[in-house]
Protein backbone atom coordinates (compact mmCIF):
# COMPACT_ATOMS: atom_id res chain seq x y z
CA UNK A 1 0.00 0.00 0.00
CA UNK A 2 1.37 3.45 -0.84
CA UNK A 3 1.40 6.24 1.67
CA UNK A 4 -1.25 8.92 1.36
CA UNK A 5 0.06 12.23 0.00
CA UNK A 6 1.92 14.36 2.50
CA UNK A 7 0.27 17.51 3.70
CA UNK A 8 2.09 20.79 3.11
CA UNK A 9 5.31 21.23 5.03
CA UNK A 10 5.37 17.57 5.96
CA UNK A 11 7.19 17.16 2.65
CA UNK A 12 10.36 18.43 4.29
CA UNK A 13 10.58 15.19 6.29
CA UNK A 14 12.50 12.19 5.01
CA UNK A 15 10.29 9.77 3.08
CA UNK A 16 11.85 6.75 4.76
CA UNK A 17 11.29 8.10 8.20
CA UNK A 18 7.71 9.02 7.39
CA UNK A 19 7.15 5.45 6.18
CA UNK A 20 8.53 4.15 9.46
CA UNK A 21 6.30 6.56 11.35
CA UNK A 22 3.22 5.40 9.43
CA UNK A 23 4.10 1.78 10.04
CA UNK A 24 4.41 2.25 13.81
CA UNK A 25 1.37 4.50 14.03
CA UNK A 26 -0.81 1.89 12.31
CA UNK A 27 -0.12 -0.48 15.17
CA UNK A 28 -1.02 2.12 17.81
CA UNK A 29 -4.24 3.11 16.05
CA UNK A 30 -5.67 -0.34 16.71
CA UNK A 31 -6.15 0.75 20.32
CA UNK A 32 -8.72 3.40 19.55
CA UNK A 33 -12.16 3.24 17.91
CA UNK A 34 -11.80 3.99 14.16
CA UNK A 35 -13.75 7.24 14.48
CA UNK A 36 -11.58 8.39 17.42
CA UNK A 37 -8.16 8.42 15.80
CA UNK A 38 -7.36 11.86 17.26
CA UNK A 39 -7.04 10.17 20.65
CA UNK A 40 -3.70 8.83 19.47
CA UNK A 41 -2.06 12.28 19.50
CA UNK A 42 0.26 11.52 22.44
CA UNK A 43 1.43 8.17 21.06
CA UNK A 44 1.76 9.67 17.57
CA UNK A 45 3.94 12.52 18.81
CA UNK A 46 5.98 10.05 20.85
CA UNK A 47 6.64 7.92 17.77
CA UNK A 48 7.45 11.09 15.85
CA UNK A 49 9.89 12.20 18.51
CA UNK A 50 11.60 8.81 18.54
CA UNK A 51 12.00 8.75 14.77
CA UNK A 52 12.75 12.42 13.99
CA UNK A 53 14.53 13.37 17.25
CA UNK A 54 12.11 16.09 18.29
CA UNK A 55 8.58 17.20 17.50
CA UNK A 56 9.27 20.02 15.07
CA UNK A 57 6.34 21.88 13.48
CA UNK A 58 6.66 19.51 10.50
CA UNK A 59 6.37 16.46 12.76
CA UNK A 60 3.38 18.06 14.46
CA UNK A 61 1.74 18.58 11.07
CA UNK A 62 2.48 14.98 10.13
CA UNK A 63 0.74 13.76 13.29
CA UNK A 64 -2.23 16.05 12.75
CA UNK A 65 -2.55 14.96 9.14
CA UNK A 66 -2.49 11.25 9.96
CA UNK A 67 -4.98 11.61 12.81
CA UNK A 68 -7.37 13.79 10.83
CA UNK A 69 -7.11 16.73 13.17
CA UNK A 70 -5.71 20.25 13.06
CA UNK A 71 -2.02 21.17 13.39
CA UNK A 72 -3.11 23.43 16.25
CA UNK A 73 -4.23 20.35 18.17
CA UNK A 74 -0.85 18.72 17.62
CA UNK A 75 0.96 21.86 18.75
CA UNK A 76 -1.27 22.14 21.82
CA UNK A 77 -0.27 18.64 22.89
CA UNK A 78 3.40 18.93 21.87
CA UNK A 79 3.83 22.05 24.01
CA UNK A 80 1.72 21.02 27.03
CA UNK A 81 3.50 17.83 28.06
CA UNK A 82 7.04 18.04 29.40
CA UNK A 83 8.22 14.83 27.74
CA UNK A 84 7.87 16.36 24.27
CA UNK A 85 10.69 18.46 22.85
CA UNK A 86 9.83 20.96 20.17
CA UNK A 87 13.52 21.83 19.69
CA UNK A 88 16.48 19.47 19.18
CA UNK A 89 18.05 18.08 22.35
CA UNK A 90 21.31 16.28 23.13
CA UNK A 91 21.96 12.63 22.34
CA UNK A 92 20.94 11.73 25.88
CA UNK A 93 18.41 13.26 28.22
CA UNK A 94 19.25 13.27 31.93
CA UNK A 95 16.41 14.32 34.22
CA UNK A 96 16.94 14.57 37.96
CA UNK A 97 14.04 14.73 40.40
CA UNK A 98 14.40 17.51 42.95
CA UNK A 99 11.05 17.09 44.63
CA UNK A 100 10.64 16.71 48.39
CA UNK A 101 11.35 13.02 49.01
CA UNK A 102 14.33 13.07 46.67
CA UNK A 103 15.81 16.18 48.33
CA UNK A 104 15.32 14.70 51.81
CA UNK A 105 17.66 11.92 50.67
CA UNK A 106 20.18 14.00 48.74
CA UNK A 107 18.51 14.80 45.40
CA UNK A 108 19.41 18.50 45.38
CA UNK A 109 23.08 17.67 45.87
CA UNK A 110 22.96 15.30 42.93
CA UNK A 111 21.32 17.97 40.80
CA UNK A 112 23.89 20.62 41.75
CA UNK A 113 26.74 18.15 41.27
CA UNK A 114 25.65 17.24 37.75
CA UNK A 115 25.03 20.84 36.83
CA UNK A 116 28.60 21.71 37.75
CA UNK A 117 30.10 18.58 36.25
CA UNK A 118 28.32 18.96 32.92
CA UNK A 119 28.77 22.74 32.98
CA UNK A 120 25.20 23.39 31.89
CA UNK A 121 22.27 25.32 33.25
CA UNK A 122 18.98 23.62 34.04
CA UNK A 123 17.49 22.66 30.65
CA UNK A 124 20.78 23.16 28.81
CA UNK A 125 22.77 20.90 26.52
CA UNK A 126 26.48 20.17 26.86
CA UNK A 127 28.73 21.88 24.32
CA UNK A 128 29.47 18.54 22.61
CA UNK A 129 25.75 17.81 22.21
CA UNK A 130 26.07 14.72 24.37
CA UNK A 131 23.61 15.47 27.17
CA UNK A 132 20.59 17.63 27.76
CA UNK A 133 20.15 18.06 31.49
CA UNK A 134 17.20 19.28 33.52
CA UNK A 135 15.41 18.96 36.81
CA UNK A 136 12.00 17.31 36.76
CA UNK A 137 9.07 16.96 39.09
CA UNK A 138 8.25 13.88 41.18
CA UNK A 139 9.00 10.65 39.31
CA UNK A 140 7.04 8.40 41.68
CA UNK A 141 10.20 6.86 43.13
CA UNK A 142 9.95 8.46 46.57
CA UNK A 143 10.70 5.30 48.56
CA UNK A 144 13.75 4.56 46.45
CA UNK A 145 14.81 8.21 46.25
CA UNK A 146 16.79 10.00 44.94
CA UNK A 147 15.79 9.19 41.37
CA UNK A 148 16.54 10.27 37.84
CA UNK A 149 15.55 9.35 34.31
CA UNK A 150 18.13 8.78 31.61
CA UNK A 151 16.50 8.47 28.20
CA UNK A 152 13.27 7.40 29.91
CA UNK A 153 14.96 4.71 31.97
CA UNK A 154 14.59 5.16 35.74
CA UNK A 155 17.61 5.06 38.04
CA UNK A 156 16.93 4.98 41.77
CA UNK A 157 18.65 5.10 45.17
CA UNK A 158 21.24 7.40 43.67
CA UNK A 159 24.41 8.75 45.20
CA UNK A 160 26.90 11.18 43.67
CA UNK A 161 29.24 8.28 42.84
CA UNK A 162 26.50 6.26 41.21
CA UNK A 163 25.38 9.23 39.15
CA UNK A 164 28.94 9.84 37.97
CA UNK A 165 29.16 6.27 36.80
CA UNK A 166 25.81 6.34 34.96
CA UNK A 167 26.33 9.72 33.31
CA UNK A 168 29.97 8.96 32.58
CA UNK A 169 28.88 5.91 30.59
CA UNK A 170 26.74 7.92 28.18
CA UNK A 171 28.37 8.23 24.76
Amino acid sequence: MTNPPLAGAVEELSRDKVAKFDHELADVLKRYPPDRKAAAMIPALRIGQEIFGHVSPAVQRLCADRLGTSPARAEEVATFYVMFHTKPIGRHLVEVCTNVSCCLTGGDRIFEHLKKKLAVQNGGTTADGRITFREVECLGSCGTAPAMLVDEEMYERLSVDKVDEIVGGLK
Binding site: V82, V100, G143, E156
Partner: protein
Protein backbone atom coordinates in the same frame (compact mmCIF):
# COMPACT_ATOMS: atom_id res chain seq x y z
CA UNK B 1 -2.57 -12.60 64.49
CA UNK B 2 -0.99 -12.34 61.11
CA UNK B 3 -2.15 -9.48 58.97
CA UNK B 4 -4.14 -10.21 55.84
CA UNK B 5 -2.34 -9.20 52.67
CA UNK B 6 -4.36 -8.66 49.53
CA UNK B 7 -2.24 -6.60 47.19
CA UNK B 8 1.35 -7.42 48.10
CA UNK B 9 1.13 -11.11 48.98
CA UNK B 10 2.70 -12.26 45.71
CA UNK B 11 5.33 -9.53 45.39
CA UNK B 12 8.81 -10.92 45.39
CA UNK B 13 7.86 -14.38 44.14
CA UNK B 14 9.89 -15.42 41.12
CA UNK B 15 8.22 -14.24 37.92
CA UNK B 16 5.19 -12.98 39.89
CA UNK B 17 4.12 -10.79 36.98
CA UNK B 18 3.63 -13.72 34.61
CA UNK B 19 0.28 -15.27 33.80
CA UNK B 20 1.56 -18.73 34.68
CA UNK B 21 2.58 -17.64 38.15
CA UNK B 22 -0.66 -15.74 38.69
CA UNK B 23 -2.72 -18.75 37.63
CA UNK B 24 -0.69 -21.05 39.84
CA UNK B 25 -1.79 -18.94 42.81
CA UNK B 26 -5.44 -19.16 41.84
CA UNK B 27 -5.45 -16.10 39.60
CA UNK B 28 -8.52 -15.46 37.45
CA UNK B 29 -10.55 -17.66 39.83
CA UNK B 30 -12.42 -14.55 40.93
CA UNK B 31 -13.29 -13.73 37.32
CA UNK B 32 -14.55 -17.26 36.90
CA UNK B 33 -16.71 -16.86 39.99
CA UNK B 34 -17.92 -13.43 38.85
CA UNK B 35 -19.04 -14.76 35.46
CA UNK B 36 -21.48 -17.04 37.26
CA UNK B 37 -22.88 -14.10 39.21
CA UNK B 38 -25.52 -11.60 38.29
CA UNK B 39 -23.59 -8.37 37.44
CA UNK B 40 -25.77 -6.38 39.85
CA UNK B 41 -24.75 -8.75 42.63
CA UNK B 42 -21.07 -7.91 42.02
CA UNK B 43 -21.82 -4.20 42.36
CA UNK B 44 -23.64 -4.98 45.62
CA UNK B 45 -20.62 -6.84 46.99
CA UNK B 46 -18.35 -3.91 46.15
CA UNK B 47 -20.77 -1.55 47.89
CA UNK B 48 -20.83 -3.81 50.92
CA UNK B 49 -17.01 -3.97 50.97
CA UNK B 50 -16.63 -0.27 51.84
CA UNK B 51 -13.93 -0.04 49.19
CA UNK B 52 -12.99 3.61 48.79
CA UNK B 53 -10.97 5.12 45.98
CA UNK B 54 -7.25 4.79 46.62
CA UNK B 55 -6.18 7.63 44.34
CA UNK B 56 -6.66 10.37 46.90
CA UNK B 57 -10.29 11.44 47.16
CA UNK B 58 -11.43 8.31 49.01
CA UNK B 59 -14.81 8.21 47.28
CA UNK B 60 -16.91 5.05 47.78
CA UNK B 61 -16.21 2.87 44.72
CA UNK B 62 -19.52 1.00 44.65
CA UNK B 63 -21.47 4.23 44.94
CA UNK B 64 -19.47 5.77 42.08
CA UNK B 65 -20.41 2.82 39.90
CA UNK B 66 -24.12 3.41 40.48
CA UNK B 67 -23.86 6.90 38.96
CA UNK B 68 -23.72 5.39 35.46
CA UNK B 69 -26.93 6.23 33.60
CA UNK B 70 -28.93 3.06 32.95
CA UNK B 71 -29.52 3.21 29.23
CA UNK B 72 -26.54 4.89 27.63
CA UNK B 73 -24.00 2.78 25.73
CA UNK B 74 -21.14 2.46 25.14
CA UNK B 75 -19.68 2.99 28.58
CA UNK B 76 -15.95 3.04 29.27
CA UNK B 77 -13.65 2.15 32.12
CA UNK B 78 -10.45 4.13 32.65
CA UNK B 79 -7.85 3.10 35.16
CA UNK B 80 -5.93 6.00 36.60
CA UNK B 81 -2.26 5.00 36.78
CA UNK B 82 -1.03 8.59 36.53
CA UNK B 83 0.53 8.39 40.01
CA UNK B 84 2.32 11.75 40.21
CA UNK B 85 1.55 13.30 43.59
CA UNK B 86 4.86 13.83 45.39
CA UNK B 87 5.24 11.13 48.04
CA UNK B 88 3.06 8.61 46.17
CA UNK B 89 4.66 5.49 44.71
CA UNK B 90 2.45 2.42 45.10
CA UNK B 91 0.49 1.77 41.90
CA UNK B 92 3.70 1.38 39.92
CA UNK B 93 4.61 -1.69 41.97
CA UNK B 94 1.24 -3.34 41.27
CA UNK B 95 2.07 -2.94 37.57
CA UNK B 96 5.56 -4.35 38.12
CA UNK B 97 4.86 -7.23 40.49
CA UNK B 98 1.27 -8.31 39.90
CA UNK B 99 -0.22 -6.76 36.76
CA UNK B 100 -2.64 -9.65 36.24
CA UNK B 101 -4.35 -8.80 39.52
CA UNK B 102 -5.20 -5.42 38.02
CA UNK B 103 -6.29 -6.98 34.72
CA UNK B 104 -8.54 -9.44 36.53
CA UNK B 105 -10.02 -6.53 38.49
CA UNK B 106 -10.63 -4.65 35.25
CA UNK B 107 -12.29 -7.69 33.65
CA UNK B 108 -14.61 -8.19 36.63
CA UNK B 109 -15.47 -4.49 36.80
CA UNK B 110 -16.22 -4.37 33.08
CA UNK B 111 -18.40 -7.48 33.31
CA UNK B 112 -20.27 -6.01 36.30
CA UNK B 113 -20.86 -2.68 34.56
CA UNK B 114 -21.39 -3.87 30.96
CA UNK B 115 -18.26 -2.14 29.70
CA UNK B 116 -16.39 -3.49 26.68
CA UNK B 117 -13.44 -1.12 26.35
CA UNK B 118 -11.03 -0.13 29.12
CA UNK B 119 -7.94 2.09 29.07
CA UNK B 120 -5.15 2.18 31.60
CA UNK B 121 -3.87 5.76 31.59
CA UNK B 122 -0.31 5.58 32.90
CA UNK B 123 2.04 8.51 33.35
CA UNK B 124 4.64 8.86 30.62
CA UNK B 125 7.59 8.53 32.99
CA UNK B 126 6.52 4.97 33.88
CA UNK B 127 7.84 3.44 30.66
CA UNK B 128 8.85 0.21 32.36
CA UNK B 129 5.53 -0.16 34.14
CA UNK B 130 3.65 0.50 30.89
CA UNK B 131 5.65 -2.32 29.29
CA UNK B 132 4.79 -4.64 32.21
CA UNK B 133 1.09 -3.90 31.77
CA UNK B 134 1.19 -4.31 28.00
CA UNK B 135 2.95 -7.62 28.35
CA UNK B 136 0.35 -8.87 30.82
CA UNK B 137 -2.53 -7.68 28.62
CA UNK B 138 -0.98 -9.48 25.65
CA UNK B 139 -0.68 -12.65 27.72
CA UNK B 140 -4.28 -12.41 28.86
CA UNK B 141 -5.46 -11.81 25.29
CA UNK B 142 -3.40 -14.70 23.91
CA UNK B 143 -4.79 -16.99 26.60
CA UNK B 144 -8.36 -16.00 25.69
CA UNK B 145 -8.99 -14.43 29.08
CA UNK B 146 -9.94 -11.13 27.49
CA UNK B 147 -10.94 -10.60 23.87
CA UNK B 148 -14.16 -11.88 22.31
CA UNK B 149 -15.00 -14.26 25.16
CA UNK B 150 -14.17 -13.65 28.81
CA UNK B 151 -12.12 -16.59 30.11
CA UNK B 152 -12.90 -18.28 26.82
CA UNK B 153 -16.35 -19.20 28.03
CA UNK B 154 -18.60 -16.18 28.25
CA UNK B 155 -19.72 -14.20 25.20
CA UNK B 156 -18.59 -10.81 26.41
CA UNK B 157 -15.98 -8.99 24.39
CA UNK B 158 -13.47 -6.92 26.29
CA UNK B 159 -10.49 -4.94 25.11
CA UNK B 160 -7.95 -3.37 27.46
CA UNK B 161 -5.31 -0.93 26.25
CA UNK B 162 -2.52 1.05 27.84
CA UNK B 163 -2.41 4.78 27.08
CA UNK B 164 0.83 6.41 28.13
CA UNK B 165 0.82 10.08 29.09
CA UNK B 166 3.72 12.41 28.41
CA UNK B 167 4.49 14.26 31.62
CA UNK B 168 1.76 16.31 33.31
CA UNK B 169 0.68 15.95 36.95
CA UNK B 170 -2.68 17.49 36.11
CA UNK B 171 -3.63 14.41 34.06
CA UNK B 172 -4.16 12.52 37.30
CA UNK B 173 -7.24 14.73 37.76
CA UNK B 174 -9.92 12.56 36.24
CA UNK B 175 -11.43 14.98 33.76
CA UNK B 176 -7.99 16.19 32.63
CA UNK B 177 -7.11 12.52 32.20
CA UNK B 178 -10.07 12.12 29.84
CA UNK B 179 -9.04 15.17 27.82
CA UNK B 180 -5.54 13.75 27.56
CA UNK B 181 -6.89 10.36 26.54
CA UNK B 182 -8.89 12.10 23.81
CA UNK B 183 -5.64 13.50 22.45
CA UNK B 184 -5.72 16.99 23.90
CA UNK B 185 -3.86 19.01 26.50
CA UNK B 186 -4.89 18.11 30.05
CA UNK B 187 -7.33 20.85 30.95
CA UNK B 188 -9.77 19.75 33.65
CA UNK B 189 -13.45 19.96 32.75
CA UNK B 190 -16.17 21.77 34.64
CA UNK B 191 -18.20 19.43 36.81
CA UNK B 192 -21.04 18.58 36.77
CA UNK B 193 -21.57 16.70 34.59
CA UNK B 194 -19.33 14.10 36.20
CA UNK B 195 -17.46 11.55 34.07
CA UNK B 196 -19.85 8.75 35.09
CA UNK B 197 -22.48 10.64 33.05
CA UNK B 198 -20.42 12.52 30.45
CA UNK B 199 -16.92 11.08 30.24
CA UNK B 200 -14.64 9.73 27.54
CA UNK B 201 -15.92 10.86 24.12
CA UNK B 202 -18.94 12.24 26.02
CA UNK B 203 -20.00 8.75 27.06
CA UNK B 204 -20.48 7.46 30.61
CA UNK B 205 -17.07 6.60 32.03
CA UNK B 206 -15.91 5.13 35.31
CA UNK B 207 -12.44 6.22 36.41
CA UNK B 208 -10.83 4.24 39.20
CA UNK B 209 -7.32 4.12 40.61
CA UNK B 210 -5.05 1.09 40.04
CA UNK B 211 -5.00 0.00 43.70
CA UNK B 212 -8.77 0.36 43.94
CA UNK B 213 -9.43 -2.03 41.06
CA UNK B 214 -6.69 -4.46 42.12
CA UNK B 215 -8.83 -5.16 45.21
CA UNK B 216 -11.84 -6.29 43.18
CA UNK B 217 -10.79 -9.94 42.65
CA UNK B 218 -10.30 -10.42 46.42
CA UNK B 219 -13.69 -8.85 47.14
CA UNK B 220 -15.41 -11.18 44.68
CA UNK B 221 -13.60 -14.24 46.07
CA UNK B 222 -14.06 -13.46 49.76
CA UNK B 223 -17.16 -11.30 49.82
CA UNK B 224 -17.69 -7.63 50.53
CA UNK B 225 -18.23 -8.17 54.24
CA UNK B 226 -14.86 -9.83 54.73
CA UNK B 227 -13.19 -6.88 53.00
CA UNK B 228 -15.10 -4.36 55.09
CA UNK B 229 -14.06 -6.24 58.24
CA UNK B 230 -10.37 -5.63 57.46
CA UNK B 231 -10.92 -1.91 57.90
CA UNK B 232 -13.02 0.22 60.18
CA UNK B 233 -15.85 2.67 59.82
CA UNK B 234 -16.57 3.48 56.22
CA UNK B 235 -13.19 2.34 54.90
CA UNK B 236 -12.76 -1.35 54.14
CA UNK B 237 -9.74 -3.46 53.30
CA UNK B 238 -6.04 -2.92 53.48
CA UNK B 239 -4.14 -0.03 51.95
CA UNK B 240 -0.75 0.54 50.45
CA UNK B 241 1.10 3.20 52.39
CA UNK B 242 4.22 4.59 50.79
CA UNK B 243 6.63 6.03 53.33
CA UNK B 244 9.51 8.24 52.20
CA UNK B 245 11.87 10.87 53.57
CA UNK B 246 13.69 10.61 56.88
CA UNK B 247 12.96 7.04 57.96
CA UNK B 248 15.26 4.06 58.38
CA UNK B 249 13.22 1.74 56.17
CA UNK B 250 11.27 3.63 53.53
CA UNK B 251 8.98 1.69 51.24
CA UNK B 252 5.48 0.44 50.54
CA UNK B 253 3.62 -1.20 53.42
CA UNK B 254 0.28 -2.96 53.08
CA UNK B 255 -1.64 -2.40 56.28
CA UNK B 256 -5.24 -2.46 57.48
CA UNK B 257 -6.95 0.78 56.40
CA UNK B 258 -7.08 2.03 59.99
CA UNK B 259 -3.41 1.40 60.84
CA UNK B 260 -1.70 3.80 63.24
CA UNK B 261 0.51 6.42 61.54
CA UNK B 262 3.06 6.63 64.35
CA UNK B 263 3.39 2.86 64.49
CA UNK B 264 3.92 2.74 60.74
CA UNK B 265 6.78 5.23 61.01
CA UNK B 266 8.39 4.15 64.27
CA UNK B 267 7.97 0.37 64.03
CA UNK B 268 7.46 -0.75 60.44
CA UNK B 269 9.81 1.88 59.03
CA UNK B 270 12.27 1.52 61.90
CA UNK B 271 12.03 5.10 63.15
CA UNK B 272 14.16 8.07 62.24
CA UNK B 273 17.84 7.92 61.20
CA UNK B 274 20.22 8.90 63.98
CA UNK B 275 17.38 8.62 66.51
CA UNK B 276 16.38 12.21 65.75
CA UNK B 277 12.89 13.46 66.48
CA UNK B 278 10.07 13.88 63.98
CA UNK B 279 9.35 17.48 63.13
CA UNK B 280 6.56 16.95 60.64
CA UNK B 281 4.69 14.33 58.63
CA UNK B 282 2.70 14.76 55.45
CA UNK B 283 0.24 11.85 55.69
CA UNK B 284 -1.28 11.52 52.21
CA UNK B 285 0.78 13.04 49.41
CA UNK B 286 2.20 16.56 49.14
CA UNK B 287 -1.20 18.26 48.95
CA UNK B 288 -2.44 16.93 52.28
CA UNK B 289 -2.08 19.34 55.23
CA UNK B 290 1.08 18.73 57.26
CA UNK B 291 0.96 17.29 60.79
CA UNK B 292 3.40 18.17 63.57
CA UNK B 293 5.48 15.35 65.01
CA UNK B 294 3.29 15.32 68.13
CA UNK B 295 0.09 14.90 66.08
CA UNK B 296 0.80 11.58 64.42
CA UNK B 297 -0.55 9.11 66.94
CA UNK B 298 -3.67 8.68 64.80
CA UNK B 299 -5.44 6.10 62.67
CA UNK B 300 -4.78 6.38 58.94
CA UNK B 301 -8.42 5.64 58.13
CA UNK B 302 -9.80 8.26 55.73
CA UNK B 303 -12.24 9.89 58.15
CA UNK B 304 -9.83 9.68 61.11
CA UNK B 305 -7.13 11.61 59.25
CA UNK B 306 -9.76 14.13 58.22
CA UNK B 307 -10.73 14.54 61.87
CA UNK B 308 -7.06 15.22 62.64
CA UNK B 309 -7.16 18.10 60.17
CA UNK B 310 -5.50 16.44 57.19
CA UNK B 311 -6.16 13.87 54.45
CA UNK B 312 -5.06 10.29 54.04
CA UNK B 313 -5.18 11.04 50.30
CA UNK B 314 -3.00 8.72 48.26
CA UNK B 315 -1.36 7.08 51.27
CA UNK B 316 1.94 8.79 50.55
CA UNK B 317 3.57 9.51 53.92
CA UNK B 318 6.53 11.92 53.89
CA UNK B 319 8.57 12.18 57.08
CA UNK B 320 10.71 15.20 58.04
CA UNK B 321 13.13 14.87 60.95
CA UNK B 322 13.74 17.72 63.39
CA UNK B 323 16.78 18.98 61.48
CA UNK B 324 14.74 19.91 58.39
CA UNK B 325 13.83 23.47 57.40
CA UNK B 326 10.09 23.77 56.90
CA UNK B 327 10.45 26.85 54.70
CA UNK B 328 12.77 24.94 52.36
CA UNK B 329 10.29 22.04 52.25
CA UNK B 330 7.25 24.21 51.59
CA UNK B 331 9.13 26.24 49.04
CA UNK B 332 9.77 23.08 47.00
CA UNK B 333 6.17 21.93 47.33
CA UNK B 334 4.95 25.34 46.15
CA UNK B 335 7.31 25.15 43.18
CA UNK B 336 5.79 21.82 42.21
CA UNK B 337 2.25 23.21 42.07
CA UNK B 338 3.40 26.29 40.19
CA UNK B 339 5.11 24.03 37.62
CA UNK B 340 2.12 21.74 37.30
CA UNK B 341 -0.73 24.27 37.28
CA UNK B 342 -2.28 23.81 33.83
CA UNK B 343 -2.91 27.53 33.49
CA UNK B 344 -6.62 27.35 32.87
CA UNK B 345 -7.84 29.22 35.99
CA UNK B 346 -6.31 32.56 36.94
CA UNK B 347 -6.20 32.11 40.74
CA UNK B 348 -4.17 28.91 40.38
CA UNK B 349 -2.01 29.96 37.41
CA UNK B 350 -1.01 33.28 38.97
CA UNK B 351 -1.33 32.38 42.65
CA UNK B 352 0.86 29.29 42.59
CA UNK B 353 3.70 31.25 40.95
CA UNK B 354 3.35 34.09 43.44
CA UNK B 355 3.52 31.68 46.36
CA UNK B 356 6.54 29.98 44.85
CA UNK B 357 8.31 33.33 44.42
CA UNK B 358 7.58 34.57 47.93
CA UNK B 359 8.68 31.29 49.50
CA UNK B 360 11.88 31.24 47.48
CA UNK B 361 12.56 34.80 48.66
CA UNK B 362 11.90 33.89 52.30
CA UNK B 363 14.07 30.80 52.16
CA UNK B 364 16.99 32.84 50.81
CA UNK B 365 16.66 35.52 53.46
CA UNK B 366 15.09 38.23 51.31
CA UNK B 367 11.56 38.04 52.72
CA UNK B 368 9.71 40.03 55.35
CA UNK B 369 6.94 39.38 57.85
CA UNK B 370 4.59 41.11 55.40
CA UNK B 371 5.47 38.40 52.85
CA UNK B 372 4.38 35.74 55.32
CA UNK B 373 1.03 37.48 55.70
CA UNK B 374 0.76 37.80 51.90
CA UNK B 375 1.26 34.05 51.55
CA UNK B 376 -1.70 33.38 53.80
CA UNK B 377 -3.84 35.76 51.81
CA UNK B 378 -2.80 34.24 48.49
CA UNK B 379 -3.50 30.68 49.58
CA UNK B 380 -6.92 31.78 50.81
CA UNK B 381 -7.67 33.29 47.41
CA UNK B 382 -6.81 30.11 45.48
CA UNK B 383 -8.53 27.41 47.52
CA UNK B 384 -12.06 26.78 46.31
CA UNK B 385 -11.74 29.24 43.40
CA UNK B 386 -10.72 26.89 40.62
CA UNK B 387 -12.21 24.33 38.22
CA UNK B 388 -10.27 21.42 39.68
CA UNK B 389 -8.71 20.46 42.99
CA UNK B 390 -5.15 21.47 42.02
CA UNK B 391 -5.85 24.94 43.40
CA UNK B 392 -6.82 23.45 46.76
CA UNK B 393 -3.88 21.06 46.59
CA UNK B 394 -1.55 24.04 46.22
CA UNK B 395 -3.21 26.10 48.95
CA UNK B 396 -3.49 23.42 51.66
CA UNK B 397 0.23 22.83 52.22
CA UNK B 398 0.88 26.58 52.43
CA UNK B 399 -1.95 27.13 54.89
CA UNK B 400 -1.01 24.17 57.07
CA UNK B 401 2.75 24.84 57.12
CA UNK B 402 2.07 28.44 58.13
CA UNK B 403 -0.39 27.34 60.79
CA UNK B 404 1.91 24.76 62.33
CA UNK B 405 5.36 26.26 61.76
CA UNK B 406 4.83 29.99 61.50
CA UNK B 407 7.72 30.81 63.84
CA UNK B 408 10.16 29.28 61.34
CA UNK B 409 8.87 31.48 58.54
CA UNK B 410 9.10 34.60 60.68
CA UNK B 411 12.57 33.62 61.81
CA UNK B 412 13.73 33.49 58.20
CA UNK B 413 12.38 37.02 57.75
CA UNK B 414 13.93 38.33 60.99
CA UNK B 415 17.36 36.77 60.53
CA UNK B 416 17.31 37.44 56.79
CA UNK B 417 18.74 33.98 56.15
CA UNK B 418 17.85 30.32 56.43
CA UNK B 419 18.88 29.28 59.96
CA UNK B 420 19.57 25.77 58.67
CA UNK B 421 22.13 26.97 56.14
CA UNK B 422 23.19 24.31 53.70
CA UNK B 423 21.48 21.60 55.71
CA UNK B 424 17.96 22.84 55.01
CA UNK B 425 16.94 19.36 53.81
CA UNK B 426 18.12 17.81 57.08
CA UNK B 427 21.44 16.77 58.58
CA UNK B 428 21.39 13.31 57.08
CA UNK B 429 20.45 13.11 53.41
CA UNK B 430 21.26 9.57 52.38
CA UNK B 431 19.35 6.99 50.43
CA UNK B 432 18.40 3.91 52.44
CA UNK B 433 17.28 0.45 51.37
CA UNK B 434 13.55 0.45 50.71
CA UNK B 435 11.09 -2.35 51.42
CA UNK B 436 8.31 -2.61 48.92
CA UNK B 437 5.77 -5.18 49.98
CA UNK B 438 8.71 -6.89 51.69
CA UNK B 439 10.92 -6.81 48.60
CA UNK B 440 14.21 -5.08 49.26
CA UNK B 441 15.28 -2.33 46.84
Amino acid sequence: MSETLILTKRWGKPDSASLASYRQDGGYGALDKALAMDPAKIVDEVKRSNLRGRGGAGFATGLKWTFLPKDVRPRYLTINADESEPGTFKDRYIAEHDPHMLIEGIAITCYALDIHLAYIYIRGEFAKQARCLEKAIDEARAAGIIGPKLLGKRDFDLDIFVHRGAGAYICGEESALLESLEGKKGYPRLKPPFPAVVGLWAKPTIINNVETIANIPWIVQNGGEAFAALGTGKTGGTRLFGVSGHVNRPGVYEKPAAYNLKKLIMEDCGGIPGGRGIKAVIPGGSSSPVLRGDEIDISLEVDAVKAAGSMSGSGGVIVFDDSTCMVRALSRIAKFYAEESCGQCTPCREGTSWMEGILEKLEHGHGTAADVAKLEQLAGNIGGQTICALGDAAAMPVQSFLKKFKAEFLRHAEERRCPYGEHAWGLDQTSRAAFVGGVRY
